[in-house]
Amino acid sequence: MITSAKIPSWRVIGRIVRHCPGLFGWMTLMMLVWMLLVQVQAVAVQQFFDHLNGEVIGLGVLGLIGVLLLVRLARIIANWVNLRLRALFWVQTMGLMRHNLLGHILRQPGARALPGSPSEALSRFTGDVEEIPLFATFSTELIGQMAYGTLAIIMMASIHLPLTLISLLPIVFTAWIANASGNRIQQYRAANRQSSGQVVGYLGELFGAVQAIKLAGAETPMIGHLDELNQQRQRMVLRDRLFGQLLISSTANAVTLSTGLIFLFGAEAIRSGQFSLGDFALYVYSLENFGYFLSIFGQMISRYKQVGVSVDRLITLTPAEPQAFMRPGVIRVEHAHPALQTDLALADTPFSGLRVQALTATHPNTSFGISGVSFTVRPGSLTVITGRVGSGKTTLLRAVLGLLPSSAGAVLWNDTPITQLDTFMTPPRVAYVPQIPHLFSDTLRYNILLGLRRSDSDLLQAAVMGADVKLLDDGLDTIIGRKGVKLSGGQAQRTAAARMFIRQPQLLVVDDLSSALDVETEQTLWETIAVMQERTCLAVAHRRAALQRADHIIVLKDGRVEAQGRLADLLANCDEIQRIWAGSAENVSD
């Protein structure tokens, strides 16, 4: 875990509470009302037993019953208000943290955006995010309990000071032990979390690969691996729970022990009438609630450590800005608002060329990558990057786009070196179609526009989708299933291409767009690109359809530029492209 960027948990909680201080104040007030009224009940019980014992009390039994009823009514109202406020507090703060995290992740270099699998990241977005506001609401309980505890101790001490001290002894002692074992709680909790995360991550992969598993008939071994992870998790959960229970029940059983001590040391005081039965009842009543307070306190300590674990996990999600998740802000969750629509500003300057100079980048966790790649993309040209599998084509594209950090070299746009590639290489300047586009469970229109303000006719014109849309039942309103499964591979790729075209970028960047398309659709596509006004295109491709239309070809081999130039020249001089060219011949005669 990261230790250098360690932020104390209390500061994190404070920052989160400061997002909505009014809510927190009202919740605390309601908790105070809720808790302090408990001691009114204790006094009623004390008065009742003193009354039985023959003392004269002001209210009589019926009066005491009236007090109990009023207390109940007041507590019901306080609780109702508190629960409503909590709902708002939770959603508001959790929403803001997720908002911050997603925002940060979306603006970070892509290939490094997530530390683990998406499902693993998802568990941080849910469980870990929830931990902090949950603790904040627990702390309002703690404040209420502390006020209550103070009041109870003052009342007990005013009756009999030595017995008060003796009876508090076991309770305080167990609380001290609970405190001392704090580190262990944190360890057990972290191990528990981690093994749970592994199960969730694996389930995510399993459900995401259903078709592949079915086709491989691999259901049984896949479940076998799940069982291994399940068992591991069981061991961790059991250890965690047992230890937690040890702390909780010690404080609870300490009350019984306290009662025993009152018996042991208070017998004479009771016999002499110095300590009445009513006083005894008040003591036991208060000690029980006090014990509960300390057990809450014990839980608070362990939960506080859990907040630490969660904060660590949230920090690793955004290493570039550890405090991203608690950035202040406001999100409105109380009222519905229309979905955001964005407009694209036109690029401020015309495109006069892209220059890549000695670019070097390695793919994270492997030694594969590109080194010292240089080339130029002229305005209005089609530049094609080609090479065999593993030659670094996609890595190069991603490094140019800033989706992958580069370790050396520069990218110049209109002769200006660009430092923040990842934010610069976006619409309206650049748009990109990846090899495997991702679609969302929403309408086709949403999937293409992604919030861009455009009319349907614009949309149909810009895209190569016309024929597809007619085939779908609800046209642009068709909900495409998870990952767009109901669309064929080609349709999905055309949807992604439509996303790019409708943004009318100065530079189109395409990673093997044609791989899922048939011959005719592929040709149509290259023609569409070829006839577009003022378009510049940088594409990974290895088909003749693309190579022939290319104004400039870059041949990659083992991450370096093997050769570059026009097709005819390369065919004459470069072995690598000859091999690719021969391989891509659409020649079917034997």
Binding site: L114, L277, G390, T426, F440, L450, R482, V485, D518, V588
Partner: protein, 578 residues
């Protein structure tokens, strides 16, 4: 809404039976715990009566009392440990069964559910059930016994009081039963809103690059706020109901005090009880409300657990549309394929219209057609990922619906363009965690595929970690691994669905020889959009809008100037020669 006790029971019996021994131990521990709880107030009374009345020695009583506190501690811990153990064993078994069931459900089911939603079912909901198992025993059995014990002991003091407290208990439990279900629909709505929010996030987290490169960050973040609005609405509604529940619960406690005040003062004034007994009544009354208190504070839990049970059961009750056949043997060796009047639609749009063809065993069929023409659908029908709406598909003249799916898929293998890789080592990725496949066999296959050098470049070899979704592999490498998976099976029919689409020509050429070996003595269907890929086909089928528009020997079609195939060849060749 009603909490389905019957279904709880069925689940309980199914998953507790295998561990009855531990379960019996748990029951014993629980009973001891209850006994201790009943005993402690009795000793308190004895002490108080002795202290206020007689001159009996008090020290022994006080010491015994303290001893009991320690025994209680040990009992509580043991109960927790065994309770959790029973619960987790049971729910792990359920999670495993549920996941297996979900894997068995066909793609109709999966297409309409996000991965996030399924994770909620198989993890969040099932984990809730762990609480259901551990708490149900403690609550329903333990607390009912505790209530019964208290009522018996109160009756022993004075039968009228026994009846009074019995009436109180019945009224209290009746009221709690009346209100116990009011939050279930609201809890379900909140869970649904949560699942939708999680599903939304999940889809965005896998699509980070798509979002960034289209400049859609702000829109995606804004959409997340929308999901939280829905979540808030559902949570607020739930909060109101929860407040009612806890209000009723607190009122029961107040009522218990009132009953104690009235009955104890009446009996004491009638000199029917001692002061110590008056305190005993108070003690038991407080102890009596605790199970109510626990039951109802757990009602919230029970309600969310109830919603979880319902959702889990709902999925368990969905039957796959595709059922195993009677178990006809899939013949060894190459398989012949016959399609007769095959029609199919996913929803309302018909994708395949009455397809007929027959392919002899050992032949290679090349299927061409534009995207959306039904090629992939046809492949899915052959592997029985879906069933035909009408007509039949037969392998060696036996309808595919007569085989078990496991047998069928051992003999029919399909490579798709979308390669699914797991966050595990290379070996497990190739074998799908099947530990029975030896390393030797895997290495042999890697050799056939020409991946020997590639593997040698990785220091960890087969133990190399593949990142989730194969992010540390190129698309081409991922595709090669998919081929390796096929080689590890021994199919009689191989379907390559645009399988080489992501390979560059040089790598593809390297695969050619390997594919030759794979197709040797096997029937094959090659679905392609490139003409070159079908060079090895004996027979060509061209699909258009779900109909077979052309079928014939490749060589004949290639020579026939009126054929579609000929026309396609011209387009292709024209392109190649331009």
């Amino acid at each position: 809404m009603h909490v389905p006790i019957g279904r709880y029971w069925t689940l309980l019996v199914t998953y507790l039976r295998p561990q009855w021994g531990t379960f019996a131990l748990l029951v014993v521990l629980l009973l001891s715990g209850i006994g201790l709880q009943l005993l402690i107030p009795q000793i308190t009374r004895q002490f108080l009566d002795a202290a206020t009345g007689s001159n009996d020695p008090l020290l022994g009583l006080a010491a015994g009392f303290i001893g009991l506190a320690f025994i209680q501690q040990v009992t509580t811990l043991a109960t927790t440990y065994y309770g959790e153990q029973v619960a987790w064993r049971a729910t792990n078994a359920l999670r495993s069964d549920l996941t297996q069931h979900i894997l068995r459900l066909d793609l109709h089911f999966h297409n309409n559910r996000s991965v996030g939603e399924l994770i909620e079912r198989a993890d969040t909901d099932v984990t809730q059930l762990a609480e259901f198992f551990s708490r149900l025993v403690v609550l329903v059995v333990g607390n009912l016994l505790l209530i019964g014990g208290i009522l018996l002991l109160l009756t022993a003091e004075d039968w009228r009081m026994g009846i009074g407290f019995l009436a109180f208990s019945v009224a209290a439990l009746g009221t709690l039963a009346l209100v116990r279900n009011i939050a279930i629909p609201y809890e379900r709505a909140r869970k649904q809103a949560q699942a939708e929010m999680v599903g939304y996030l999940e889809e965005r987290l896998v699509a980070i690059e798509d979002i960034r490169s289209n400049g859609a960050e702000a829109v995606m973040i804004d959409g997340l706020t929308g999901k939280h609005h829905v979540l808030y609405e559902s949570w607020r509604a739930l909060a109101g109901r929860s407040a009612v529940l806890s209000g009723v619960n607190g009122s029961v406690m107040t009522a218990a005090y009132i009953v104690t005040f009235l009955s104890a003062s009446a009996l004491f004034e009638a000199q029917a009880i001692t002061l110590g007994t008056a305190y005993l009544i108070f003690n038991y009354a407080v102890l009596l409300t605790r199970p109510f208190n626990e039951i109802s504070s757990q009602i919230d839990r029970f309600q969310s657990i109830g919603a979880s049970v319902e959702r889990v059961e709902e999925i368990l009750h969905i039957q796959p549309r595709i059922q195993d056949g009677g178990g006809a043997n899939v013949p060894a060796g190459a398989l012949s394929i016959t399609a007769e009047g095959v029609s199919f639609s996913y929803d309302s749009t018909t994708v395949l219209h009455s397809i007929n063809f027959h392919l002899e065993k050992g032949q290679v069929l090349g299927v061409l057609g534009r995207t959306g023409s039904g090629k992939t659908t046809l492949a899915r029908l052959l592997a029985r990922l879906y069933d035909v709406n009408s007509g039949s598909i037969r392998l060696n003249d036996v309808d595919v619906r007569q085989f078990t799916q496991a047998d069928l898929r051992q003999r029919v293998t399909m490579v798709t363009q979308d390669v699914q890789l797991f966050d595990a080592n290379l070996r497990d990725n190739l074998t799908f965690f099947n530990r029975e496949i030896s390393d030797d066999r895997i290495l042999h296959v890697m050799e056939i595929l020409g991946l020997h050098d590639w593997l040698a470049a990785r220091p960890a070899g087969l133990d190399s970690l593949i990142e989730s979704g194969g992010r540390n592999l190129s698309a081409g490498e991922a595709q090669l691994l998919a081929f390796a998976r096929v080689f590890l099976a021994d199919p009689g029919l191989v379907i390559l669905d645009e399988a080489s689409a992501r390979l560059d020509p040089a790598t593809e050429a390297r695969l050619e020889r390997a594919v030759d070996r794979l197709l040797d003595q096997r029937t094959a269907i090659i679905i392609a959009h490139r003409l070159r890929t079908v060079q090895r086909a004996d027979v060509i089928m061209i699909l258009d809008e779900g109909r077979v528009v052309e079928w014939g020997q490749r060589e004949q079609l290639a020579a026939d100037p009126h054929s579609h195939f000929y026309h396609l060849l011209q387009t292709g060749l024209e392109e190649a020669l331009a």
